[in-house]
């Protein structure tokens, strides 16, 4: 419960900006176009450098819905490729994961990602789970170039934006499923996402058939190959799909 000191805060231009951002997220969610418009309002009103919004489900169906810049996308991609990181932690715990100093702190919960993320431009990571009631959808990942904590106010704002994103993202995904939107068709929520991981899934299928492996093992083979060679899974998958790479049994 906020005290009297909160009242002045409520009426600041920043507060109006948050409400405006929520409206824009709602509009992006309601639009017939892709969901790319959900990121920009978050970057504008939160004290961060970049934002990525992702769906998380099992270990395969994770996807970046939108990312405000390449670093934000890369942070997401690393976590999907490695299967660990603060987005998974936030999703599992249903609570924000705040990493004010990416380079300084030790990260025993996700050592491999902790190592990899130091090579990006991110100095701080703040990840918020996307939930509507008991239904988990994904995560809202924020990064800032400089290290340092997020203020309580900014955490509160980010949570408010995450709630709006979650609501409209869920609505959109369910509506697309109900209308039988084929992947890539007009009302597919991912239609204009430049970050889709379709080739990774296609490559998984190829490896399943090639090596007679169950889906999880085939995915793990791709992941292992990428990790061993310092490539992204998307790069390895592209090589597999274009038949330049054959993983051997």
């Amino acid at each position: 419960m906020a005290g009297a000191a909160r009242v002045g805060v409520v009426m600041t231009p920043e507060r109006v900006a948050i409400v405006t951002a929520q409206r824009e997220i709602t509009a992006a969610g309601a639009g017939v176009a892709g969901l790319g418009g959900m990121c920009a309002p978050c970057v504008r009103v939160l004290p961060v450098t970049g934002v990525a919004i992702s769906t998380l489900s099992g270990s395969f169906a994770s996807e970046t819905v939108c990312a405000s810049d390449e670093v934000a996308f890369r942070i997401d991609e690393l976590q999907f490729d490695l299967g660990e990181g603060p987005c998974w932690e936030a999703f599992a715990s249903r609570a924000p994961v705040l990493v004010p100093d990416v380079r300084g702190d030790a990260h025993p919960q996700w050592p491999v990602f902790g190592d990899a993320v130091r090579k990006t431009a991110a100095g701080a990571l703040f990840v918020f789970p996307l939930y509507v009631g008991g239904t988990g959808i994904g995560s809202l990942g924020l990064y800032r170039r400089t290290a340092g904590p997020l203020t309580d106010e900014a955490v509160h704002d980010a949570e408010a934006l995450a709630a709006t994103v979650a609501k409209h993202l869920l609505r959109r995904i369910l509506a697309a499923a109900r209308d039988g939107a084929a992947p890539g068709s007009g009302n597919d929520p991912w239609q204009d996402s430049p970050h889709d991981r379709r080739e990774i899934h296609q490559a998984t299928g190829i490896v399943m058939n090639q090596l007679d492996l169950p889906v999880g093992a085939a995915f793990a083979r791709l992941r292992g190959h990428a990790f061993a060679n310092g490539d992204t899974m998307a790069e390895v998958a592209h090589e597999v799909v274009t038949r330049h790479l054959h993983l051997s049994s």
Partner: protein, 251 residues
């Protein structure tokens, strides 16, 4: 006299709300309609609607202006104010003179004044024992809302409440979870199945997709089901490719 009377328009509003209960509709759109029609037909300058989720947390679902939205957010954040009281007690709360309530609501009262609101009337969204939210009418002049308007506001809120509760009953969260899971995973399964068929039949992804679709139609099974069977290795790609592979690659 050709303009419809207020009673006629109110009647139309009830029909619109009631219609939305039957067909598949969007709760958010319904809430926007409710606040818009309240301001249009009742003696209010602005309206806001707060709704609780399953865990008793309130959210502003719709409002007719930024001013009303800010007041609702303030009340939710501080946990105090006429709309919150209405939600908690499940009873209408009428505040004819907001300025007189500065001691009771030291945060809400000055902000309301700043936004130009002098009085507020909140009606609960309630069905029997279950209160799910509140519809709040903000007015720019002091005084009680007229009895006819109060009754109309409550009636509009009642119809919308039934709609929301009905929707919640038919679409509980386990149902939503399942649909989300299917929606997210079916996209993945189709891509994986394309890879399996492409490898089996030495074809590209487009041809593999065409093959999958043709086979699904021929066998009268949904494409998603076929894809999932392939991914779970409950069905081999061999059958599909030998049945259709040549026609897909030549067509």
């Amino acid at each position: 006299m050709s303009d419809p009377t207020r009673e006629q328009r109110l009647g139309e509003a009830f029909v619109t709300l009631a219609d939305s209960l039957v067909a598949g509709y969007d709760v958010v759109e319904l809430m926007h309609y409710l606040v818009d029609v309240s301001v249009e037909l009742l003696d209010a300058a602005a309206a806001g609607l707060v709704l609780a989720d399953g865990r008793d947390r309130l959210d502003v679902l719709a409002s007719t202006s930024e001013r009303a939205q800010l007041l609702e957010i303030l009340q939710i954040r501080t946990g105090r104010g006429p709309c919150l009281e209405c939600y908690r007690t499940g009873r209408a709360v009428s505040i004819p003179d907001i300025a007189a309530e500065a001691i009771r609501w030291p945060q809400f009262a000055p902000l309301a004044a700043e936004q130009g609101f002098k009085s507020v009337h909140a009606v609960p969204m309630r069905l029997r024992d279950s209160t799910i939210g509140a519809l709040n009418l903000f007015r720019s002049q002091p005084g009680e809302l007229a009895e006819a308007d109060r009754r109309a506001a409550q009636a509009l809120a009642d119809v919308a409440t039934i709609g929301i509760l009905q929707q919640r009953a038919t679409q509980d969260s386990s149902d939503v979870n399942e649909n989300l899971e299917i929606a997210l995973n079916s996209r993945v399964a189709i891509e994986q199945a394309k890879g399996i068929v492409a490898q089996q039949g030495s074809m590209n992804m487009d041809a593999a997709f065409a093959t999958l679709r043709r086979y699904a139609v021929q066998q009268k099974i949904p494409l998603t089901t076929l894809a999932q069977q392939l991914v779970r290795q409950e069905r081999t790609a061999d059958d599909i490719v030998t049945t259709l592979g040549s026609s897909a690659s030549s067509g």
